[in-house]
């Protein structure tokens, strides 16, 4: 373990040189790939191959570089900057979208927690609407991170609950309970990943490097809350509905074949804002804050209200509590 409590990654050892430049294995592969593309590009300058315009050639180069990029946690600051600029440029070339991708790190002394008031939620699903728009969720498959369960009064039984109700809410004799990724302190989804593409950040948010994810979906099988979603196809978001304020570990464009999930709106919360769901909720049922701040609203709720967590017996330790008035 390193000083800040995160698992230390092995140093990347230089294991070879290429043109007298120290490179590691992956870097060498990247250079080779770039070389191939540059070669193809050079050739096609005289005889158009399958990349005839400068934009197409640039796209191919960037796609190669994207394919061979490092794991996010192994990138240096400059490599992160280069990576996000490449992804921003790719979004422009592929979809004509102007986006800005942040790599903001966790704030020191911050551990995020969430509380959901089952007495207050009226089932309006404004949170779902805000989440879809804020996080650029796939419109084609109607991906949603949040599910609002309609439950009969007095019973907490998700098997009989209806997350797709199609009538006016609140319905008589029912209450509403929302689920999303709980950012568990003991996340079962993380150790099962065969490639280390998902991990927990110091502020408690479980994130995914979409570029590193191989799409095996072991994490989805491991999650007892069905918090993760799989991209069976590349997500489709109309160009004029894309949220351009993005984070590398959050709402940036996903690719086909990778897993995604709620990140407590990492692009907002690391700047001090509330997650979109909490801010959009008209009933005040959603409380969000820093668990390490004893004077935060979330700590007041945990200290003063009746609280419970979902499937507590699994020892996943969700950082998402339910409470009632």
């Amino acid at each position: 373990m390193s000083d800040d409590g995160t698992p230390a990654l092995p140093e990347t050892l230089p294991d070879g040189t290429l043109l007298q430049k120290p490179v590691d294995r992956r870097g060498a592969l990247g250079l080779l790939a770039a070389g191939v593309v540059a070669g193809v590009a050079a050739a096609s300058a005289c005889r158009p191959l399958n990349a005839s315009t400068p934009e197409e050639r640039e796209l191919k180069v960037l796609e190669w570089q994207e394919f061979t990029q490092k794991h996010y946690r192994r990138m240096t600051e400059s490599e992160r900057a280069e990576t996000v600029r490449r992804i921003e440029r790719l979004a422009e070339l592929r979809h004509h979208e102007e986006v800005t991708i942040a790599t903001t790190d966790a704030q020191p002394g911050v551990l995020f927690g969430y509380a959901f008031n089952i007495s207050k939620c009226q089932g309006y699903r404004n949170c779902v609407e805000a989440c879809i728009n804020e996080n650029n969720l796939d419109r084609a498959s109607d991906t949603q991170y949040i599910r609002i369960f309609e439950m009969e009064d007095g019973v907490v039984n998700l098997e009989d609950a209806d997350p797709t109700y199609q009538h006016e809410a609140p319905a008589e004799g029912h209450f509403y309970m929302g689920t999303q990724c709980f950012q568990c302190a003991n996340p079962p989804c993380v150790p099962v990943c065969p490639v280390g593409a998902t991990w927990q950040e110091p502020d408690g948010i479980v994130v995914i490097d979409y570029n590193w994810c191989v799409g095996c979906r072991a994490c989805m099988a491991a999650c007892p809350y069905w918090a993760r979603r799989f991209n069976w196809a590349a997500p489709e978001v109309p160009a004029d509905e894309v949220n351009p304020v993005q984070h590398y570990l959050g709402n940036r464009g996903r690719k086909k074949g990778c897993v995604e999930k709620c990140t407590f709106c990492i692009h907002r919360t690391r700047k001090g804002l509330l997650p979109a769901c909490a801010e959009a909720c008209p009933t005040g049922a959603r409380v969000f804050g820093n668990l390490l701040d004893p004077d935060s609203e979330i700590r007041w709720v945990l200290a003063n209200k009746q609280i419970f967590r979902l499937k507590e017996e699994l020892a996943t330790e969700p950082r998402f509590w339910y409470f009632s008035d």
């Binding site: 250079l31 790939a33 809410a169 801010e279």
Partner: protein
């Protein structure tokens, strides 16, 4: 995913060694963008603020310090002003959409406490109960069920002033002082953070909405409405008044 790497390895090696250094010299125009540039669709003051927001920098939210209650740890906190508009008046930007934060629905004609738009400069003698020919938009469910009348909460001399127990007056922005006289449990939770809505940030300045931002004081309970993602019902909603 690009599978073109399956091209012959020999070509890769030769061209890779020969042209590998091209990667370093590759220039594209996103290099011209200053670092940290934030691109955001600007169609509300909120999105501008969100783009530049740093912890504790909620400068554009007009709010007053709460009188009589303090937040967790004895910290003072602020209650936001109503910002106008047909609903409670708070709207926020999510991606490319702006969503109003409304619990109360209705009173579309009421904006920013317009009593003075009709009653300015003249003395209005308020009837003890709502008269059938004025203020049709006010459905006095809450005062009726509690045995209250108009003057239980509104000052007779000026309907824009609230009457507290003991005869003190308070402006409408301080509705929490009036509501707390009966709903002390709710106000305690509101001050602590378990009831009501905090605006914008979890960090820094704590600005919450006032009681009447969400609750219609004359009809305080949340009313059933058509939820988001109810496609069949939404069709009905779009054609109904």
């Amino acid at each position: 995913m690009n599978h073109a790497w399956r091209r012959p390895a020999a070509v890769a090696l030769v061209l890779g060694v020969f042209l590998g250094a091209c990667r370093e010299g590759h220039q594209v125009r996103w290099d011209q963008l200053p670092p940290g540039t934030v691109v955001i669709a600007v169609d509300s003051a909120t999105s501008v603020r969100n783009a530049a927001l740093e912890p504790g920098a909620l400068t554009t939210v007009a709010a007053d310090t709460v009188i009589g209650w303090s937040g967790p740890g004895g910290r003072p906190f602020e209650v936001a002003h109503r910002t106008g508009g047909p609903e409670a008046g708070h709207s926020r930007q999510f991606g490319t959409i702006a969503l109003p934060i409304v619990l109360r629905v209705g009173t579309p004609a009421l904006t920013q406490y317009p009593c003075t738009s009709c009653h300015a400069g003249s003395t209005v003698t308020m009837a003890p109960r709502r008269q059938a020919d004025v203020h049709q938009d006010i459905q006095p469910v809450h005062p009726d069920t509690t045995g209250g009348v108009c003057a239980s909460c509104h000052a007779r001399e000026d309907a824009q002033l609230l009457v507290l127990a003991g005869g003190k007056r308070a402006p409408l922005d301080q509705s929490y002082r009036l509501c707390a006289q009966c709903h002390f449990q709710q106000v305690e939770a509101w001050a602590g953070g378990g009831h009501g809505k905090r605006l914008d940030g979890w960090q820094g300045r704590r600005v919450v909405m006032a009681c009447t931002d969400c609750h219609d004081p004359h009809r305080p309970a949340a009313q059933p409405r058509i939820p988001f993602r109810a496609p069949e019902l939404e069709k009905v909603r779009s054609t109904s008044p």
